[in-house]
């Protein structure tokens, strides 16, 4: 019996943070915001050093062998975690919904993929649905819109949770986009395979954002955010784009995506 249990307290939940490639390379502060939120909710957070990528780019491009070889490392990396949490609906969706399919038929790896899938979550829905978080201590002044990233929305049901937590932030006014559930045109490799169509889609999204008059757009996936922020920058728009975890953790001192102080 551990000391915590001896005192009648539950042992802390051991969360493995799946950083994701884009957060690792482009926006490390999202990872630190995620840790702050998870620790604030009473979790112990570990960052297994041998993690890299969930294999989604290869999986969705049709290269299953490469996807398996990439995702294989995660099966070991997160062996010891009670939960695996990612600040991304699309990477969490890959783990939660597709990993068992990727390793289907492999007698050794399929059960391990299923086990990893079962304990994998997107960050904000994990905070609300699993940990039962109802308050955030952050402050923010201004109007924001939350962009529903497709994988998080449709594969994992992430919709109400971020809006619920954002509604707890004093000074933050949440506005809804027209056609909020329509894709921004990122789509992983889609945006470079069919750049013209992708551009038409992100232009439409930015027009809808413009109509709301918000100063900041939040989302749970860096892919969508970089796509929208990149287009906004090219258009000379002043709207800022941030990962929702940054605002929930009260870390807006980092410049917005694609901005300098």
């Amino acid at each position: 019996m551990s000391q915590d249990e001896a005192r009648g307290e539950k042992p802390p939940i051991k969360v493995g943070l799946f950083v994701t490639c884009l957060v690792d390379l482009f926006r490390p502060s999202v990872g630190f915001s995620a840790i702050k939120l998870l620790e604030g909710a009473g979790c112990t957070v570990e960052v297994p050093p041998m993690q890299v990528c969930c294999g989604q780019p290869a999986y969705n491009s049709g290269d299953r062998a490469a996807a398996r070889s990439v995702a294989r490392g995660l099966l070991d990396a997160f062996d010891g975690s009670d939960y695996v949490v990612a600040p991304s609906g699309s990477c969490a969706g890959m783990l939660n919904k597709h990993l068992p399919d990727l390793f289907a038929g492999d007698p050794e790896l399929e059960p391990r993929a299923q086990a990893l899938a079962a304990k994998s979550h997107e960050l904000v829905s994990f905070l609300v649905d699993v940990l039962g978080v109802t308050e955030v201590s952050a402050a923010f002044e201004g109007s924001v819109a939350y962009h529903d990233s497709c994988s998080g929305l449709r594969e994992l049901g992430v919709k109400a949770q971020p809006r619920f937590l954002l509604s707890k932030i004093a000074g933050l006014e949440l506005r809804e986009l027209d056609e909020a559930e329509v894709c921004c045109g990122f789509g992983g490799t889609f945006c470079v395979k069919y750049p013209d169509i992708s551009d038409a889609m992100v232009s439409k999204k930015l027009a809808d954002i413009g109509k709301t008059g918000v100063g900041t757009v939040l989302a749970g996936d860096l892919g969508c955010l970089m796509n929208m922020a990149g287009k906004a920058s090219r258009q000379g728009s002043r709207v800022e784009f941030r990962h929702v975890a940054e605002i929930l953790a009260g870390d807006p001192e980092v410049p917005a995506i694609g901005r300098v102080k």
Partner: protein, 475 residues
């Protein structure tokens, strides 16, 4: 060979042209705001909608598992009611069969209701090329027939055409049309088309329709329309020919009506289509009207090859078009860009299944996998999973693009080797950070023209998370 040629290989060029077509873009904008909104309203009004989807999926799965048996029961019941069933393995066989029936009937004029399988087998061209005057009776089909275009949507075939263009088309095609007659309102256009079509209904010796369902227990076929043109087509001519693909089969009338509760709701956002018409064999002695002869041409054209394959689920499709109505890619480029008969997400799976992945490899790639199609599909067809399956089949072809494939290969190689990956990505992030310093974004990036032609590339914040984490929290 009469089956329509595909331009799916040039999907990127087709898409670019569509994006630059201002008239088309206006029409697509209207579509996006129409059907999805109405669908959401009627679905919200039906609490058992989700349960119905499951039931419909089960009905179709059961039918497909026993398709051979149901087809034979169906044939026996058609024959019992005095009709004829013709089995056509290929598009060509189907077209020849229809033509032979038309010739036997001495037909010079044939009316035709809307039918996607007729488009698929190239029936229109086949009749036209063999001296039969074919008159499309669905308003949208009539418009695109006059414009000599294929449909761009499976339920609203002329969705890409504006009212002004229709007026111009009618003025060019309708002899004796008074130039002073206004054709500005929908009503004017409909009246003008109706006047022209009425005389054709009576002149036609043969009426051809598709079928939404073929019912095994009764040998009936069902069509749904909003214009009533199908009823006139099939009851006024001496001969009624139903052209239907094998997967239209459903065991019982009750099953058909269960699925019908989903069809119009998913499609146009109506609770039911205006006309739901059941046909059963030719006119009986006591019937007030109906054709003297009733023929069904059952088209395989690739369906039996889909049975038992990874793509069998696609045979559940009831052609409601909910997937394309909700697809952001279809919404951006419209139906013609897809280059063959079936556009949108259902086309991205069905087209490779019917004409081969080599010809249509772009289509399953041209999706962001946003999943909205699956969310609204009344038959719960796993469209994105099947598109992914086709991507696996076509990965080595150039539809993926050689450069993205090389880059992805390099990425996958590195991402399988954490130590090397960390070393190289640390360098790459440093370089990108430097290149974007002072601006926060890169206006141009080598090898990333596809991105930076229209978008800036946000520069990395600085350092990788893994490095910063290790420095902050030594373990």
């Amino acid at each position: 060979m009469t089956a329509p040629e595909s331009t799916s290989r040039s999907f990127p060029d087709n898409a670019r042209a569509a994006l630059g077509d201002a008239v088309l873009q206006r029409a697509l904008g209207n579509l996006k705001l129409g059907f999805p909104v109405k669908r959401a309203e009627v679905v919200a009004d039906l609490p058992e909608f989700e349960a119905l989807r499951d039931a419909a999926k089960d009905i179709k799965n059961h039918t497909l598992a026993h398709l051979d048996a149901y087809l034979e029961i169906y044939e026996a019941n058609v024959v019992k009611s005095g009709g004829h069933v013709h089995w056509a393995r290929t598009a060509n066989e189907a077209c020849e069969t229809v033509l032979a029936i038309c010739r036997d009937a001495g037909a010079s004029v044939v009316t035709k209701g809307k039918s996607m399988v007729a488009e698929e087998i190239g029936l229109n061209a086949h009749l036209d090329n063999n001296g039969i005057e074919r008159v499309e009776t669905d308003l949208g089909e009539y418009i695109i027939q006059l414009r000599n275009e294929p449909p761009s949507h499976i339920i609203v075939p002329a969705v890409h055409v504006t009212k002004d263009q229709i007026a111009d088309t009618f003025r060019a095609a309708h002899e004796g049309l008074d130039p002073a007659r206004p054709l500005t309102e929908s009503r004017d256009i409909t009246d003008e088309a109706r006047n022209r079509l009425r005389e054709k209904y009576f002149a036609a010796e043969v009426g051809i329709t598709g079928a939404n369902f073929l019912i095994a227990e009764t040998g009936s076929s069902i069509i749904v329309t909003n214009e009533g043109n199908g009823d006139l087509t099939q009851t006024l001519a001496k001969v009624h020919i139903v052209v239907a693909s094998l997967e239209k089969m459903i065991p019982t009338m009750e099953d058909a009506f269960a699925v019908l509760r989903l069809l119009a709701r998913s499609s146009t956002g109506q609770e039911f289509s205006v006309y739901t018409t059941v046909s059963n064999g030719p006119r009986r002695p006591d019937d007030l009207d109906g054709p003297e002869a009733y023929h069904v041409v059952l088209v395989d054209n690739g369906r039996t090859a889909m049975l038992g394959s990874d793509y069998q689920d696609m045979l559940r499709c009831i052609r409601c078009a909910a997937c394309m109505n909700h697809c952001p890619v279809y919404g951006a480029v419209g139906g013609h860009a897809y280059g063959w008969v079936y556009p949108g997400p259902m086309g991205a799976v069905l087209t490779p299944s019917l004409i081969g992945i080599a010809e249509s490899g772009h289509l399953p790639h041209a999706s962001t996998f946003c999943g909205r199609c699956e969310q609204v599909c009344p038959m719960k067809i796993p469209l994105t999973s099947m598109m992914r399956r086709y991507r696996e089949q076509s990965y080595q072809s150039d539809h993926m693009g050689i450069f993205p494939r090389k880059l992805l290969g390099l990425w996958s190689y590195l991402a399988s080797r954490p130590t090397l990956y960390r070393f190289l990505t640390r360098l790459a992030v440093g370089v990108l950070r430097l290149a974007g310093s002072g601006h926060g974004v890169l206006r141009r990036m080598p090898f990333a023209d596809a991105w930076t032609r229209t978008r800036d590339f946000p520069a990395p914040e600085g350092g990788t998370f893994m490095d910063r984490y290790r420095r902050n929290r030594p373990t």
